[in-house]
């Protein structure tokens, strides 16, 4: 699963911008502000960042739920069309798993209905060789680890545990045989002991079905647990990307370093950034991280002779793959 190979990405975004009217009605919030990203077949990419950094918007753009303001989403190199029929077919191949399985399941519907929903939307072709809907639903449930599947058919969401509910949501996605799973904080609302089981399931699915995944998370430990590659996002832009080992053991961007330092038991002296995650409707000029940057605050940037560029030059958006950091100081040898 090395990222160095030159396989064609199954899903990619090019110069993607998503903006919408800011909440107070003045100006526009640039939720995704120039992102390039590739997901190779069978690759698990972790998209890491704080809430409001645009990672969830990017995930929704990838699943076709949000139409980009500019730029493209490409599957197998082909730009996604936003005409309703083409979009429906696209969505079948790129499935979304949401954070809160309790909310993601309609409380009035049984497990069977929840999983069969996708099949009913896409009709006969979605059965993919299975004799009937029931067999396909049973297959998806057991692939998601709910065995024997028949035992779960008639249960309602409230009769399941949190982990089981998330498995139902995953089964509902698997039933359409997607190429890519986009998971938005898939374990954030689950208990600690269940978390590992769901992550294991995602690794198993990659191994058995070659499923690619983009996992959106604020949890660097999750990236360490399952991802091949990490992209760290800050204020709508990816600020550092590379393999998990590269980014998490030798971070180059001060933001990644700060995120890593506050993970409990990291051993390092925590670099706690002050202030809140800034507003995407008011992205600072120059380097967007500058107002919170510990390198700038400590005078390190000045010493390296990049302070002027930090103030005046917005680092270029990073390429879609490989090892990069969007920091003027990181470019200094």
């Amino acid at each position: 699963m090395s990222t160095e190979t030159v396989v064609k990405p199954v899903l990619s975004v090019r110069e993607l911008y998503v903006s919408y009217r800011a909440r107070d009605g003045r100006g526009r919030a640039r939720a995704v502000d120039g992102v390039d990203l590739d997901i190779a077949p069978g690759e698990i990419v972790a998209l890491v960042g704080e809430s409001g950094c645009g990672k969830s918007t990017l995930a929704r753009a990838l699943t076709g739920l949000v139409v980009p303001t500019a730029g493209q989403v490409l599957r197998d190199g082909v730009p996604v069309s936003y005409k309703s029929r083409a979009l429906k077919a696209y969505r079948r191949g790129v499935q979304l798993v949401l954070q809160d399985p309790t909310g993601a399941l309609n409380p009035r519907r049984t497990v069977y209905e929840a999983v069969a929903e996708g099949l009913r939307i896409h009709g006969k072709s979605a059965l993919a060789g299975f004799p009937n809907e029931k067999a396909k639903v049973a297959d998806a449930l057991s692939r998601a680890g709910l065995r024997p599947p028949e035992r779960f058919f008639d249960l309602h969401p409230h009769q399941l545990s949190g982990g089981q509910r998330q498995r139902v949501v995953i089964a509902g996605a698997l039933v359409l045989d997607p190429q890519v799973l986009v998971a938005d904080e898939p374990v954030a609302s689950l208990d600690a002991s269940v978390r590992g089981e769901i992550l294991k399931l995602m690794l198993d699915l990659r191994a058995s079905a070659g499923l690619s995944a983009l996992v959106v998370t604020h949890d660097l430990g999750l990236a360490w647990n399952i991802a091949d590659r990490v992209a760290v996002m800050y204020l709508g832009r990816i600020v550092e990307t590379g393999t998990v080992e590269e980014v998490l053991t030798a971070p180059q961007h001060p933001y990644t370093r700060a995120l890593l330092s506050v993970v409990a038991e990291s051993g390092a002296e925590p670099v706690i950034l002050t202030g809140e995650t800034p507003d995407s409707a008011a992205i600072p000029a120059g380097c967007r991280f500058r107002p919170r940057c510990p390198l700038v605050a400590s005078g390190e940037a000045e010493r390296l002779g990049v302070a002027g560029r930090c103030r005046g030059v917005d680092p270029e958006p990073l390429p879609a793959s490989g090892r990069h950091a969007a920091c003027h100081a990181a470019e200094v040898p």
Partner: protein
């Protein structure tokens, strides 16, 4: 849900009364003949005070007030229910569409709704009833067209709340289109509320029907509570103090409207968890 309803005594009383009224209205042809209701072959002397033979006296044609009142329930209930069906139907359509599509669809639909909402119902209904040919159908349309905005507002609010649930996003991510989301997720969630709203609308519709009939905008040959009152007014029963002609249809209107309201309130409380907490 049914168990919850059983604990609301007022709702139960209302429901029992409605069932009784409906049964009486349905069974009316079994014990009231055409002659009993005929203006020409009426069985009694006009405007006779209550007696052993005519328990509630007779009306201006000499018909038994008991028979007239029971028969009136047929028209009143029919008009009330049909008009409600129309109003809640339009309301649901507009409300779900506005809540689901949002944006300019929502803006346009809600402006239209607001416009209907501030129009004086009676004036609009009167205008409609006088333009169209008088009759029960006209009254149904007049009431239905004026009563839907409230339903639309309520349904839209509920639609918006359902729209924000993650399972809607999940359905869209699965590839579900507008029709799928509305039919499979929004309608089932809006339905209970529509039911509660409908029971409240029925009472308003019955009152409006009576008012329109009283103003002479309904079919005068059909016996309803409104036409009975109108006839009483026309022959001067009010000034003569013939209370037995005025009281039965008036009381019936109030009682049925109240019963529907009681049932509606109880349903609303059972179905709306937020109201339930406050009890």
């Amino acid at each position: 849900m049914i168990a919850d309803f059983r604990h609301r005594r007022a709702g139960l009383v209302g429901l029992a009364f409605l069932v009784l009224t409906a049964v009486a209205a349905l069974a009316a042809p079994l014990f009231i003949s055409a002659e009993d209701l005929s203006a020409v072959f009426a069985p009694g002397v006009p405007r006779q005070a209550p007696s052993g033979h005519f328990l509630l006296g007779t009306d201006a044609y000499g018909r038994s007030m008991v028979a007239v009142t029971i028969w009136g329930a047929r028209i009143s209930l029919t008009v009330g229910l049909l008009a409600t069906l129309l109003a809640v139907g339009i309301g649901a359509l507009v409300g779900v569409a506005a809540g689901h599509f949002g944006g300019w669809v929502d803006t346009v639909l809600m402006r239209v709704t607001d416009w209907f909402l501030v129009l004086p119902v009676l004036v609009l209904a009167t205008a409609l009833a006088s333009v169209l040919t008088p009759g029960v159908g006209t009254v149904v349309i007049a009431i239905g067209v004026t009563a839907w905005p409230t339903a639309a507002r309520v349904v839209r609010a509920q639609t918006l709340s359902v729209e924000s649930r993650p399972y809607i996003e999940r359905a869209k991510a699965l590839g579900g289109g507008h029709w799928h989301v509305m039919r499979r997720h929004i309608l089932p969630n809006v339905m209970p509320l529509m039911l509660a709203q409908a029971t409240l609308t029925v009472s308003a519709a019955i009152l409006t029907e009576a008012t329109l009939a009283f103003l002479g905008l309904s079919d005068p040959t059909k016996v309803s509570w409104g036409t009975t009152l109108q006839l009483a007014r026309a022959v001067g029963a009010v000034s003569a103090g013939d209370w037995w002609i005025l009281l039965p249809p008036g009381a019936a209107i109030i009682a049925v409207a109240l019963a529907f309201t009681l049932v509606g309130r109880a349903l609303e409380q059972v179905l709306n968890p937020r109201l339930q907490e406050r009890m």
